[in-house]
């Protein structure tokens, strides 16, 4: 390659990333789903004609980003090349071929330049409803969790499949918003396609082959260097999580070879009868994410960088088989990084952070007027985060999502969406595990029905019975708790009731500490006291 061509390739790589950013931006601006618009729960990417991901938007959360990377292969396997036309858009919410539960809609659009299929655009977003029991862990099989859309055409040659829309409209609770989001997803792929064609025309390329080859070979070389630097061998770890009604053991063995890293989940508990099972595609997404954070944080996510991370597992709760219920697969999925990082910490002592709250504390609230009173009915979704584990050289981040990449919503916006009052949402003192570096603090949230109302809520919480563990002598973070303000203890999973006049009190877990507490600097201890992060009377 001559010198100027090398630079032109580099510049086009940047441009391709900008194309997918535009794609993601379009989705973010038009989505109806709270989790997309407020919390950034989406992903968008571009693929070559073989379905290998070349670039993806930095906006997004690992559970979508890394699952979508694989999803496109399923579409290519399902829809024959000769049935793909310009203007097509394909869709699915198959948990095993998409992103792990029915609420996520994945759309893939072929990109044609003239008659040539040059690649694909894909995007994923969480929609507000898919029918069934609603977002929660109570389903006994995927059939109870909502409508299943197999890989099929949402649009052919630009004509939207009206039969699909009719079926959808009758099967979901908020048809306008859900169908609006289907259109948003399709539109965002169109934006990506148009920008890509404009770019190729401008630079005089017929397809994505040479640029794709450049991107993947460069990335491959960089990631191989990182793998070469890692210690070789196998290390294992296990942990207990709350489960639905009984504790569940997760186990992993990380083996680092010469050209890949494999994570095996043998020894993990069997599938659960409740909707907390995780399809392998989602488990893999979070395992890859954890490894990449430690091994190659600066190397872009694409087919070449993801290819070195492999997973294997017998059928179990982290490799659930159809028709297992999977609606709340994110709770155990979010535990996977702590599980994998625990094994990696044995391979790379002193370099890996402590355990944290891990799973988001999402609350789905279904509020209604008390019988006989006037009022509003509404569904309200909140995303909340506990503390992150302490890092080898830094305290853990307080009330910050990890591994998920989502945001919380302003409570002022949340209170406009339904008849509830949030009386408290602030840091939870004394919840960070002690250590040379302190775990991040959890938070306390108090939610009441507005006057004359009551609500049911779907609990999707973890780390209530088993606290996040510290590392290298650090102490555990405080476990979570779910209760009413009169002291009644509630369960961490499943639909439960909050009557009029009472408050739901959620205490989110804090992160584990790192290193011996005795080694903590005096200034840091004094600052914790002054700020009220630590109040205990033991010193």
């Amino acid at each position: 390659m001559n010198q100027i061509d090398e630079i032109r390739m580099q510049v086009m790589w940047n441009r391709l990333i900008s194309v997918v950013e535009e794609q993601a931006m379009t989705l973010l601006r038009t989505a109806f789903s709270t989790s997309v618009r407020e919390a950034g729960d989406l992903s968008a990417g571009v693929y070559n004609a073989r379905g290998e991901m070349l670039a993806q938007a930095v906006t997004g959360t690992p559970g979508h980003v890394n699952t979508m990377a694989e999803a496109v292969m399923h579409f290519i396997a399902e829809i024959p090349r000769e049935e793909m036309y310009p203007g097509d858009t394909y869709v699915t919410n198959d948990p095993w071929k998409g992103t792990g539960h029915l609420h996520d809609i994945t759309m893939v659009s072929p990109s044609f330049k003239g008659d040539e299929l040059i690649g694909f655009f894909a995007c994923t977003a969480h929609v507000v409803d898919v029918g069934g029991r609603g977002f929660g862990a109570d389903g006994k099989s995927v059939y109870e969790e909502g409508i299943q859309i197999p890989i099929m055409k949402f649009a052919e040659r630009g004509e939207v499949n009206q039969d699909l829309l009719k079926i959808l409209r009758l099967n979901v609770r908020e048809p306008n918003q859900v169908i609006g989001d289907f259109y948003s997803l399709a539109a965002c792929n169109d934006v990506g396609h148009n920008r890509l064609i404009a770019m190729l025309d401008e630079v005089g390329l017929d397809n994505l082959e040479s640029l794709g080859e450049f991107i993947l070979s460069r990335t491959h070389a960089a990631i191989m260097e990182r793998i070469a630097d890692l210690p070789k061998g196998a290390w294992s770890n296990d942990m207990l999580t709350d489960g639905y009604d009984q504790a569940i053991k997760l186990a992993a063995e990380v083996s680092i070879g010469n050209d890949n890293v494999n994570v095996d989940f043998s020894g993990t508990a069997a599938m659960s009868p409740w909707g907390i099972n995780v399809p392998m595609i989602y488990t893999k997404a979070y395992a890859c994410y954890a490894l990449k954070c430690v091994v190659a944080p600066d190397i872009p996510n694409n087919a070449a960088s993801l290819a070195v991370f492999k997973v294997s597992s017998p059928t179990n709760i982290l490799n659930a088989e159809r028709p297992a219920p999977v609606s709340v697969r994110h709770v155990l999925g979010h535990m996977v990084p702590d599980l994998v990082l625990g094994a990696l910490a044995k391979a790379m002592p002193g370099q890996v952070l402590a355990e944290g709250a891990a799973a988001l504390w999402n609350v789905h609230i279904s509020a209604r007027p008390v019988e006989g009173q006037e009022g509003r009915q509404a569904e309200v979704l909140m995303f909340n985060s506990g503390g992150m584990g302490a890092r080898p050289q830094l305290d853990g981040l307080s009330s910050t999502a990890f591994p998920s990449g989502v945001h919380t919503m302003p409570i002022e916006a949340t209170e406009h969406t339904g008849p509830i009052v949030i009386w408290r949402k602030e840091l939870r003192p004394d919840s960070g595990g002690a250590g040379k570096f302190r775990g991040g603090l959890g938070q306390v949230i108090e939610i009441a029905p507005a006057e004359g109302h009551e609500f049911n809520f779907s609990a999707m919480f973890d780390r209530v019975t088993s606290a996040p563990r510290g590392r290298d002598g650090g102490e555990p973070g405080a476990p979570g708790s779910v209760a009413l303000d009169d002291g009644t203890q509630l369960r961490p999973k499943g639909w439960q009731h909050v009557p009029a006049g009472r408050r739901l009190v959620l205490k989110l877990p804090g992160g584990g500490g790192f290193g011996q507490p005795a080694e903590r600097l005096q200034e840091a201890i004094a600052a914790d006291r002054a700020q009220g992060y630590v109040t205990g009377g033991d010193v």
């Binding site: 630079i7 580099q10 931006m25 109806f32 609006g180 009052v421 408290r424 938070q443 009220g532 992060y533």
Partner: protein, 692 residues
């Protein structure tokens, strides 16, 4: 009095330089003075001395001084404000610390979040609660407030901020709290319902904290300035430019200093808007590139695009989310870490990266020979022949090509096996691509197509890169105005007396409460006009905008409303306007979901003297270059013998065929091979794509 009939002075305090522009009945005098951080007003006085002497006028003859400053921004970035107490609703002590609960960079496990402006120990809570509908759920606990007031007094705070939940719906508790506090405290008290009455507690609380935090410092600076100006004989009115691009009185500025954040860049956008009006260009993208950053702003119908919130003091590679949000009306600009001093490096994939780290003015680029050893954009520009080493900054600094080549080879060329010149092209093309991408995405965010715009480029480094940027963005025309080096200060002279009042009020469109809407708009109109009346007597123009969305969405789009009282029958008209706007942004309107209002805004400004519009001159007499040198042309992929023309020797109607370099004291305009340059009647250069 309008422009051209009086003597106006614009003063812009920037990070490195304080720019002064004096307009004496239509003739412009300008100078740059080094910013003096310990006594910022001194640089202004020194500058006034210089320009008044140049112009042969006395300070007492100046009719009006318009001032913008980065002091408020710097105080926030450098955390040099007053010790401030925040009083907030019980249960919400940590809103400004918990932020969005998000990591703005997904893969960096050692991420540090910005520390809150006010530490936890200085945040006090009090019982009392307003609902989302604006009703009182719990009375304000006045006894606790009395105790807090006494504590604040005892502890030596310098300022107080009050931020209560839902105060944008009902400000009674915040106002009552201020009354009680005032009885005990002789401190400036800022309340969130006045500083930023918009929904979203993190943004609003952070904004009121920022206001309180910089208030003592800014108030003292502004009163010192006023006194010193009077001492030197300049007794004329002094107005401040605010982040929304309008003017406010010194009193308002001292009370709401957060509104001064980003006022300098706002001046640049007004400068560009004025040029857009002069040449009657309805769609313009302004491009301002200096030493450390580049800024891009969209200007439609001579009005810079505005937003209701922005982020200052980003701490992590200019990453979105790593700064602090400020919710005030602002001229919306995207800023990227790419300026002449930005440093180039190579990442793990052997990709060239540029910035955001900058060599700034000390040690500066490698070619300055002042100890800088890392390659910057200026070094790459020099090696490509775009800069004349013997004639930089009017010959004040001699640039070393050898030093540039050495730095570029070491940090970039050798790692990629590239010759120094190819590496220099790589650096420039990567940074130009980054700027182009940022501009393109920004346009998409606003439902616009960047290639349909005319570019207006200013700032020291912009003319070196503008033509290449236009190539990448498919833009056919680009203007390089005169005086581009002090663009912001000139822009101040063109600013209207203007103020934007904003308030959130969530309500469905279907069967909306016309009386409530009319009352709210009346209040906003009164607020906005009262600020404008501080400086303007004549007719006032108003623009009413509703920010609307489909119920369930989180992103509102601006919809222009007629300036009159509304009746129930207006529902259809507003729905129609919303759907048209929506389709313009996102392709097509959605059928089915309900539509709602979220926020209303009233912009009021005085009527400015219309700058006379005249069309662009696109034809011109070809002139021959006096000299040539080898300059790298990106489109042709190699060095070309390129004409060198002195800008001062050009006159209106001259045409310079690209590739060429047009040289002036502060900068050089690079005309790449796809473009020609045509000189306009006012000396502005028009870069025009050949064959258009």
């Amino acid at each position: 009095m309008s422009i051209g009939q009086d003597i106006r002075l614009g003063a812009d305090i920037g990070g490195t330089f304080t720019d002064i522009a004096l307009d004496v009945r239509g003739t412009l005098y300008s100078t740059k003075v080094l910013t003096n951080y310990t006594a910022p007003e001194q640089a202004i006085l020194d500058g006034i001395e210089i320009v008044t002497q140049d112009a042969g006028v006395d300070a007492s003859q100046i009719d009006m001084i318009i001032h913008g400053t980065t002091l408020a921004t710097n105080a926030l970035i450098e955390r040099r404000g007053a010790r401030t107490a925040l009083i907030t609703t019980e249960g919400f002590r940590d809103v400004i610390e918990m932020r969005t609960e998000n990591r703005f960079e997904q893969y960096d496990l050692n991420l540090k979040l910005p520390t809150p402006l006010i530490p936890r120990e200085d945040r006090f809570t009090v019982k009392g609660r307003i609902s989302a509908q604006g009703e009182e759920l719990l009375a304000l606990d006045e006894e606790t407030l009395e105790i807090i007031a006494r504590n604040i007094k005892a502890e030596g705070f310098g300022a107080v901020a009050v931020g209560f939940i839902h105060s944008y719906m009902n400000d009674a508790h915040e106002k009552r709290a201020r009354e009680i506090l005032q009885r005990h405290l002789d401190l400036p008290i800022s309340i969130s319902a006045e500083v930023s009455p918009q929904m979203r507690e993190f943004e609003r609380f952070n904004t009121v904290c920022a206001n309180a935090y910089v208030r003592p410092q800014m108030a003292s600076y502004l009163s010192r300035l006023e006194v010193r100006l009077k001492e030197m004989g300049a007794g004329c009115p002094v107005f401040m430019i605010h982040s929304g691009g309008g003017l406010v009185s010194l009193e308002t500025a001292a009370e709401f200093p957060v509104r001064l954040v980003e006022s300098g860049p706002a001046g640049g956008a007004i400068f560009a808007a004025d040029i857009a009006r002069r040449f009657d260009l309805d769609r313009v993208v302004s491009y301002d590139m200096g030493g450390t950053t580049a800024k891009v702003c969209l200007i439609e119908d001579f009005k810079p695009q505005t937003a209701r919130t922005f982020e200052v003091a980003r701490t992590y590679r200019f990453c979105k989310g790593s700064g602090m949000p400020i919710s005030i009306p602002v001229i919306e600009m995207i800023e990227i870490g790419a300026g002449g001093g930005s440093i180039a490096w190579v990442d793990a994939m052997n990709r060239i990266q540029v910035g955001p780290e900058s060599a700034s003015s000390e040690p500066g680029p490698a070619c300055y020979g002042r100890g800088g050893e890392r390659p910057t954009i200026t070094d790459a520009d020099l090696l490509l022949g775009k800069l004349d080493p013997d004639n930089f900054a009017g010959g004040k600094i001699r640039l070393s090509k050898e030093a540039s080549a050495r730095a570029i080879s070491l940090d970039v060329g050798e790692k990629l096996d590239l010759q120094p010149q190819a590496a220099a092209f790589g650096i420039c093309d990567v940074v130009d691509e980054n700027m182009a991408n940022a501009a393109r995405v920004h346009a998409v965010e606003n439902g616009k197509n960047i290639s349909e715009n005319t570019m207006i480029a200013f700032g020291g480094a912009a003319p070196l890169h503008a033509a290449r940027l236009c190539e990448k963005l498919n833009i056919d025309r680009c203007l390089i105005p005169r005086g581009a080096g002090v663009g912001s200060a000139i822009g101040f002279l063109r600013a209207p007396f203007g103020y934007e009042a904003v308030a959130s009020q969530i309500m469905g469109l279907k069967g909306f409460d016309t009386a409530a809407l009319n009352t709210l708009l009346e209040e906003l109109k009164a607020t906005a006009e009262s600020f404008v009346r501080e400086g303007a007597q004549g007719e006032i123009q108003r623009e009413i905008t509703a920010f609307m969305r489909y119920a369930g969405q989180g992103w509102e789009i601006p919809v222009a409303l007629p300036d009159r009282d509304f009746i129930a029958a207006d529902e259809a008209l507003i729905e129609q306007a919303f759907k048209e706007r929506y389709a313009k942004f996102f392709g097509r309107a959605v059928e089915g979901p309900a539509i709602e209002f979220v926020t209303f805004s009233v912009k009021a400004h005085d009527m400015r003297a219309e700058t006379e519009g005249h069309p662009l001159t696109e034809e011109g007499q070809v002139i021959e270059a006096s000299a040539t040198r080898q300059v790298f042309d990106p489109a042709l992929g190699g060095e070309q013998s390129t004409g060198i023309v002195l800008r001062d020797t050009l006159s209106a109607g001259d045409r310079v065929i690209g590739p060429a370099v047009i040289v002036e004291r502060e900068t050089s305009t690079v005309v790449t091979s796809p473009f020609d340059a045509v000189v306009q009647s006012d000396g502005t250069l028009l870069l025009m794509r050949k064959g258009v």
